[in-house]
């Protein structure tokens, strides 16, 4: 989450000292967003599950590098995103496809699902957007991530998230024929 005055979360520090309960509580709190983030990147529930699980293990092992007082979620999501990208990359290698930029978002808006504005027009317009527009919109709105978290997942600067989101929304509105 971005900004906001909050009491520092001491669970990462406790977990770093070996407190398994503190880490379990962190996993329980963040597992849904970790899984969804991984799913957006891998496009596969099975891969997302494995990627999220492995990311939590890696995060535990890397806790000594976690800056005390920092927000745990963006840090974790960056690890999740890396793990998910690695899985996509490995999958492509296994499938014998030419390796592409691992940052590509595998998720596509579902062709079926709850009704949204325009009877599926939104899904079509979103699917037609360039990958980088789709990824920033997916992070910001579908996952409801803050700017800092989106930056961590996509590996871009926070300012870029802001400008890219604005441009992507503009393009989406234009595709839908909606005025801003």
């Amino acid at each position: 989450m971005d900004g906001g005055e909050q009491a520092p979360d001491d669970r990462p520090v406790l977990a770093r000292r070996g407190d398994a309960r503190a880490y379990e509580s962190l996993v329980q709190e963040h597992q849904a967003i970790a899984f969804r983030t991984a799913y957006l990147i891998t496009g596969s529930a099975a891969d997302a599950e494995e990627a999220a699980q492995e990311a939590f293990v890696r995060a535990w092992l890397a806790l000594k590098r976690f800056r005390q007082g920092a927000d745990f979620r963006p840090w974790l999501l960056a690890i999740v995103a890396n793990e998910a990208r690695n899985r996509v990359r490995n999958r492509r290698r296994r499938e014998g496809l030419a390796e592409r930029a691992a940052r590509e978002l595998a998720w596509q808006p579902p062709s079926e699902g709850p009704a949204v504005a325009g009877d599926g027009q939104l899904r079509e317009a979103l699917a037609a957007l360039p990958e980088r527009d789709r990824s920033v919109l997916a992070c910001r709105f579908v996952l409801d991530l803050g700017e800092e978290e989106t930056a961590a997942v996509l590996g871009i600067a926070r300012g870029t998230v802001k400008s890219r989101t604005a441009r992507a929304l503009e393009r989406l509105r234009a595709a839908l024929g909606v005025e801003s």
Binding site: V27, F35, Y39, K64, P110, G113, A117, V142, L143, L176
Partner: protein
Amino acid sequence: MTLERDLRELAAGLPDAPDLSSRVLVAVRERSARRRRRRVAALAFAVFLLAPATALAFSPDLRDRVLETFGLRNVKVERVRHIPTVSPAARSLQLGSRISLTQARSALQVRFHSPKALGAPDAIFQDTLQAGVDVTLLYEPGTVAARLGVRRRVLVSMLRGTLDKQLIGKTIGTATSARQFRLDGGQALLLTGQPHIVVIFRHGGTIETTSTRLAGNTLLWQRRALLVRVEGNLPEAQLIAIARSITTG
């Protein structure tokens, strides 16, 4: 904001997240245990291989001769039947580079004051360890004589290390007494009697960056995040008094 709201509604199409916590904890335990085993093996291997590098006369069956192993958070102590002979080079102090008190405070991230029992040191050194920083206050025999009435060199070191890293190894013989106790809520370890061998694991993580030297009576005290070491041939009460007279803030 309708478009943004509609985008948010697409989240309903994402699959439900599974419960990962129990699997993560099992995996974490297995991975941590594996890492611990590797670290212990690496430490044993490093100590074993130090022989040619430091001219210590470790015999090939050193591991068989380890009688017990204990320690503190960043220190591993091994007791062996006979401590090896050390070369003259290992008798010299290797404390790192000389720094100021301000730099020492910054390196340790704590505003500490020199121990009241000894006053200002003759020199301050900083050493960068594998996963931490070590600051040593050096008191020359003349200075100690003026303050404690005995002519001894004293080293007061403070180490801020990563929680699970062994940064210092100590090899003690059967003629060295080791007493573990609690000091002001922290774990402490007092080594007295026959000098012991100190192995320092420096930044870089390779055997080449490891050094050894001989040390006399030493108090090791885990004082919150800092490992305090007081080394000098002084009685136990004096070593403890020096360590406790270090103040912070």
